[in-house]
């Protein structure tokens, strides 16, 4: 774990020289051109804030590019940021940024993880302002994107977390976030193993469960890398594993939450970038059918016979009529969350075995004529979220009495 004392003497001297800051931004970007642009965006963003805001931009560059220095935005190089893997955990680098921010008495910390091309002044303003001016503790991003992008979030993560924790957060795993000093203190002060293995999922979940104030900010269009549909297993394992760990950790809490509430959303919603990449549905269905033939043993250990029967029928459906009902999909996710908790098989294997099912859902989603545009996709997303909420009692009952003798 990187603590302040672990930083280089040069870095520590620089922190001492800076003294204090209102806002700390951190980005894993290292290139001078990118940094100059981010610094310019930052200046524009903080110019829109009500009060003058002393800002420190932490970056992963080896040296401080003079070009981005200014009175209002200062910089600090922290190469360790480059190693941060936001998909896996709030790694050491995150804690280091938080430690620096605390040392500078910063009131707000903004982590910029998305592709540099996505980041705009609105992006920075959106994540910082609710902390600095409205006393929120965590700002989650509300990205605009094409309906075919970010499907793991819209098909699993967002509806799952909404149903469990009762807050309608569009992108609960960020990865771009705004943090208050209070929440960062909480994250830094946590003792033990959980602090060392903290995941992105745990940030939002902890904030909800511990009563921190959360809002979301319309930050604009996020550019997603093209999905590698032939290799989704490791992504699933990497993202859903920590999500299911949180589910176990907070079981006493989410089982008492019913329904869901919106969270405050600031900024104007942007339009997505159009159609996005074309998805080869045929290949996804082939993958599902292959999985259906080969993974029966694992699926049978996790899924009840009723779901298995539905999957068998789906495997025989003609492509043009291929469809996975929302209710089935929600129950499948819940059954895998339970399987993860019961450690029926190695968790990594379990989540990888879920991949063909996820591809089946993606195929079904793409074939759904209702998601032709952004608005109808949003409506479709709401339907799915409601299906997850409706199926939540199923999860609670299975969680409480995980008897395999069930329908």
């Amino acid at each position: 774990m990187i603590e302040l004392a672990d930083l280089t003497a040069q870095t520590r001297e620089r922190i001492e020289e800076i003294g204090t800051a209102d806002l700390v931004l951190a980005t894993a970007r290292a290139g001078a051109a990118e940094l100059s642009r981010i610094a310019a965006d930052t200046r524009e963003a903080i110019g829109k804030l009500y009060s003058p805001t002393r800002t420190l931009l932490i970056h992963s560059g080896e040296a401080i590019p003079e070009i981005v220095q200014s009175d209002s935005v200062r910089t600090l190089a922290m190469p360790a940021l480059r190693e941060a893997d936001p998909l896996k955990a709030i790694a050491d680098a995150y804690r280091a940024v938080f430690s620096v921010a605390r040392n500078l008495n910063a009131r707000a910390i903004v982590m910029l993880v998305s592709d540099a091309d996505s980041i705009t002044p609105q992006w920075i303003y959106g994540l910082a302002r609710p902390i600095l001016e409205l006393d929120f503790d965590l700002v989650t991003p509300y990205y605009a994107h094409a309906p075919s992008e970010g499907l793991l979030n819209s098909g699993v993560i967002a509806p799952f977390m909404r149903a469990l924790y009762g807050r309608r957060i569009q992108h609960p795993l960020g990865p771009d976030f705004g943090f208050s000093a209070k929440f960062v203190d909480r994250l830094l002060n946590e003792p033990g193993e959980r602090a060392r293995t903290r995941s992105l999922a745990s940030i939002t979940v902890d904030a909800i469960c511990e009563g921190f104030e959360i809002c979301q900010a319309n930050v604009g269009v996020r550019r997603y890398p093209a999905a590698d549909w032939a290799n989704q297993s490791s992504v699933l394992a990497q993202i859903l594993g920590p999500l299911f760990v949180e589910t176990e950790y907070h079981a006493a809490r989410w089982q008492r939450i019913r329904g869901s509430q919106p969270v405050s959303t600031f900024g104007e919603a942007a339009s997505g970038p159009g159609d996005g990449e074309a998805i080869d549905v045929r290949r996804l269905i082939d993958s599902f059918q292959l999985g259906h033939r080969n993974l029966q043993e694992i699926w049978s250990a996790v899924l009840p016979p009723g779901t298995l029967l539905e999957l068998s029928k789906m495997a025989k459906q003609p492509r043009e009529h291929f469809h996975m009902p929302d209710r089935t999909w929600a129950r499948i996710i819940y059954d895998f969350a339970l399987g993860h908790r019961l450690r029926l098989i190695n968790p990594d294997h379990l989540l990888r075995a879920m991949t063909p099912l996820y591809l089946a859902w993606v195929a079904s989603f793409c074939l759904d004529a209702a998601v032709a545009d952004e608005t109808s996709a949003a409506r479709r997303g709401e339907d799915l979220a409601l299906a997850f909420e409706a199926a939540k009692p199923y999860l609670v009952s299975r969680w409480r009495w995980p008897d395999r003798f069930n329908p």
């Binding site: 009500y50 009060s51 302002r129 001016e133 409205l134 006393d135 929120f136 003792p191 033990g192 193993e193 104030e213 809002c215 079981a251 006493a252 089982q255 008492r256 019913r258 919106p262 969270v263 405050s264 959303t265 600031f266 009692p393 609670v396 009952s397 409480r400 009495w401 995980p402 008897d403 395999r404 003798f405």
Partner: protein, 1099 residues
Amino acid sequence: MKRQGSASDPLWYKDAIIYELHVRAFADGNNDGVGDFQGLIQKLDYLQELGVTCLWLLPFFPSPLKDDGYDISDYFSVHPSYGTMEDFQEFLTAAHDRGLQVIIELVMNHTSDQHPWFQRARTAPPGSPERNYYVWSDTDQKYREARIIFTDTEKSNWTWDPVAKQYYWHRFFSHQPDLNYDHPQVVEEMLTVLRFWLDRGVDGLRMDAIPYLFERDGTNCENLPETHQLIKRFRREMDEGYSNRMILAEANQWPSDVRPYFADGDECHMAFHFPLMPRIYMALRQEDRLPITDIMAQTPEIPENCQWALFLRNHDELTLEMVTNDERDYMYLAYSADPRMRINLGIRRRLAPLMDNNRRRIELLNSLLLSFPGTPIIYYGDEIGMGDNIYLGDRNGVRTPMQWNSDRNAGFSRATPAKLYSPVIMDPVWGYQAVNVEAQQSDPSSLLNWMRNMIALRKLFRVFGRGTLEFLNPENRKILAYVRRWGDEQVLCIANLSRFAQPVDLDLSEFEGMAPVEMLGYVEFPAITRQPYRFTLSAYGFLWLELHGAPQRIEEARGSDEPAILTIGAGWTSLFEGAARHRFEAVALPEYFPKQRWFGGKSRTIRTAHVMDWTGVDRPHAALALVEVEYEQGPPETYFVPIAISLDRAADQIRESAAGAVIASVVTPEGPGILHDGLYDDEACVTLLGLIVHGRELGTRRGKIRGAPSALLAQAQDGYVSIRRGSGEQSNSSIVYGDKFILKLFRRFQPGPNPDSEVEKFLTEKARFDRVPPFAGAIEYEPGAPEPATLGVLEGLVENEGDAWKWTVEELERYYETNAPAAFPPEALNDTQDVVTLSEQPTPQFARDHVGLYLESAATLGRRTGELHRALATGADDPAFAPEPLTEQNVRDLLETWREQALDAFRVLKENVSRLPDDAVDQAALVLGRRREFLNRLRISASDGAQGMRIRIHGDYHLGQILRVKTDYVILDFEGEPSRPLAERRAKQSPLKDVAGMLRSFSYAAYATLVNWSARRGEDAARLEPWARLWDRYSAVEFLRGYREATAGAEFLPSNAAAFRILLGGFRLSKALYEVLYELNNRPSWVRIPLMGILDLPA
């Protein structure tokens, strides 16, 4: 090095599931036939998976093992058969890594006779410090009142030592001499032991046999005061040096005798509840809940940070010390048919054999263990239903090796069977081939899996570890039903103690509207109603039900407006003090109140109501009552409730014309009728007036109610031709008598004079101010308190054209109608001066042209307001009215209040910002974004000294409180904000608070009228906003002009214009923020009005 304990919550033991095990019996790591720490480490995953959170290890120290390790010969080491200190430390770390806490034994009453301290003592000279480590005597006749505990083996508590040539004292076996805690070195030695193990990181210490630490002549040598002082010293040592550690007391005593071991939460954290355990078995066998409810009724409350430790079985016998002789005989007959099953005063058997291996009974008892208030302790092996061996000596039959699988030695050890410390159980029913962990792990329906699920379920609900317990008392005594509550968690548990299915009707009416959800399967049951809730439980069945959802409002839940029915006898006594009282208070009044406009607790849930005081009035069927309303949360409130009974046609008329006034249907000796609001009975109304006119008194149960007429009333006593009832009041009720008087009854009762009555009386009789309704008298209640309370005020009726709000709105509609097509005056666009400055300048022509006549009315109202304040400041000889300086402290207090209100308003606004209508979101964000600036504006120099004076003011001043009388005004309602405490409403304040209230009222009128206008003419809405601002500004300017003219030179105002401006600005901002809160809670669509008002305030 001192190691940390593993728990982060200081109260961790309240939520714990403790697993009691003996290292010797659990798993053998080195295959020498004796369990050890290495074996235990290998089984930690099993324990983690089972779900227990804390391990309690029986003694593992060096010992001759004559009492299963409770005879310790070295406190600082590990018995070589179990491993080394390094093994222990490895185990402790591994347990902590799995989130398991560890409790070990602190056997402090006695040592082994092989302990070096004892060996040294017996050879030391009598009276020497070494000798005095133990209790010696030349005679065995001391302390004769002390009982013998191990009656089967010991005949005396004294044993002759031939070496020492004295008797030594022992409460247990003779090979366990008691330590002498009167000797300071012994205390120090044992504190060193405590520190030694806490330093290693153990989380808790079970203090063995602590009632017996001291001996005193003439006592039974148990639970002596010295014992408590000593344990408190140990606790202090623990608290000062270590965090999140715990002491568990073993005191086999009655609950009332155990209670002192908790002291004030500064002695033991936990103590075993010994008497409960045998009574659970007794209740089951007798199929009667009484033994359980009886012992729980005798269980005292314990401090918040303390906890009972509950168990079904443990390493000792099922002790029957804490039962009566008859009960003990019954238990022997019921549970120990074979005399070999008995030992001392107890039964040496495990749980499953005690239950005749009946799975349902085992589950039922575990369900009680896991749902009763306390921390459950599971004895190793009971989770798989292990059996016992009654042919082994002492209590060894329940201490046999853990049965892991069907391999040799039950998987406990690979040693040759003859080397085992104890034979494993091998009979066909209980043998390890039939009962073992491995088999049950692979059997989804096994007891082990059931236990694992139940433990996991219990861990989801903190209510089980921390909540209160409340028994229900259904008629069927075979059913044990209880409610556990903690915070918002409420769980209903029902257990059938019978071997046959049982029905039960439970009175769950207090949970009316809630839905029971069966906790194991998350199955929702039908909602609870007022009717008894019927359950049917199978043989030994049990149910745990979460109670979901707040109780619905009673009227919603009933789905009908049908009032409750009361049966009452002759006279009011039967209602207020007789059999009908309970239903009247618990049912009828809680249903009636929320329907009343004047009731202030509509947003709260009523628990019940109590009649505090009452009296009948002249008419036999009318009474006056003071009723205290208790809520689920928050303080109670008291209401003044005149009531009457009407029968026949009179009842029907009230039902038809004022159904909301009906409190209950009644059955009386004279026939059926209704109990209703007394103000709907004309005769009762006349009686109330007569009370004032004649200055009469009515004796109540606790004091008296009396009428107090004014001089005005004495002049006009007749002509009360008709009676009408007012309908619009929020917090009071009014009766209009002809065209002469109006009686206002204050429904919310607060001790002390009501400011409405007090101020009107002062203004009428002392200040001779004629712009208020003339005071005519009051009804007062004197309960014997220092000051009487006002129940009602009688005023002269003022002829009027309606209130100023209504008139202003009409004016504004005309204003918008006229100006909608007009071009906005360009000179008004640059008009940015604040209204106070503008009031010092001539009115600009564009304002005169467009706002017109209303300006003059506003100035008149300003003048009347100024005159009112002058009148209120004239009472120098009356302490309630004498003006007082606005001191620095007053200003500081005011600023603090403003700041708190402002922070509250900003917080609520932020929480609700996403729910606001679109047109308000921008304003909300702007206000929130400038929040620090606004907070800064609420800072006024407290040392200024120029803020004027505090006088009595109106307190809730707005256009709705003003009557339009021809071209002038009369000011009404000096009651203040009825929801605030009376002292606050009577407090003297800066008169600028009233001024600010009226300026905000102008603003409200302007924008509220615009909102309504826009609803009809949406296309003009945006264009008319500047017009609204123009009207608002210049009405305020003219009002201020009139006010300042009328108050010129008044000492009660700030001494200079700047101070006037700043203080007024603070009041305006504070008032607008209050309005934000009000609108967010009541009319979110109107919140834009105060938000715009805030943004319009000058910087």
